[in-house]
Symmetry: C2
Subunit: 121 residues, 2 copies
Amino acid sequence: MPKEWFVGNAFLTPLLAKDKNNEFSAGSVTFEPTARTNWHTHPKGQVLIVIEGDGFYQEKGKPALRIKKGDVVNIPENTEHWHGASAKSKMVHIAITNYKDDVQVTWLQPVTDEEYNKVND
Amino acid sequence: MPKEWFVGNAFLTPLLAKDKNNEFSAGSVTFEPTARTNWHTHPKGQVLIVIEGDGFYQEKGKPALRIKKGDVVNIPENTEHWHGASAKSKMVHIAITNYKDDVQVTWLQPVTDEEYNKVND
């Protein structure tokens, strides 16, 4: 995936495009250990369902949450955050991403090694 | 789950309720071998993402499709169908079910053993 969106090795498998019934897209994202998204926001939120491994979800200014297989994150709209694998495990999650008009995401700055290492301590 | 909805052993884990951003609910459904939904319809469709095992998806009057881990089914609105495990394997799928007003599903008659055995031949 574009380097502007992720740090490390992450792979997207698109599963479903928006259509007349579904006001969202769905995809499966595999993060290898230490891979993570950049900071970003969604104008109408996103739902993550972890289906393998474990990792982190963090909103700006809050402690990171450790997430693992079976966990669900209901990400609010317009809330800066990142998600990714832990340093020792890969993570696979399904992402259901709502549309606001034609926009799903606004990408921001990378999660630095300093920020990332802090949550893995 | 209620016997009016399923034949055999099937278990629903609710993952997400409808809210202001998400016009759908999401859940994980585990079907033990031979378990299947009744015939049913969705007024605004449903998306299935198979995350373990294999099974079937069948629309009324059409051949059954074998579905397995990684497969996605985008079920149209108002289309009579069933889904469930194969006779020899369990199946787990995530279901993303849209709402039309407050309705998600209309349950119909069971999938008989005769109907089910035919697709397993």
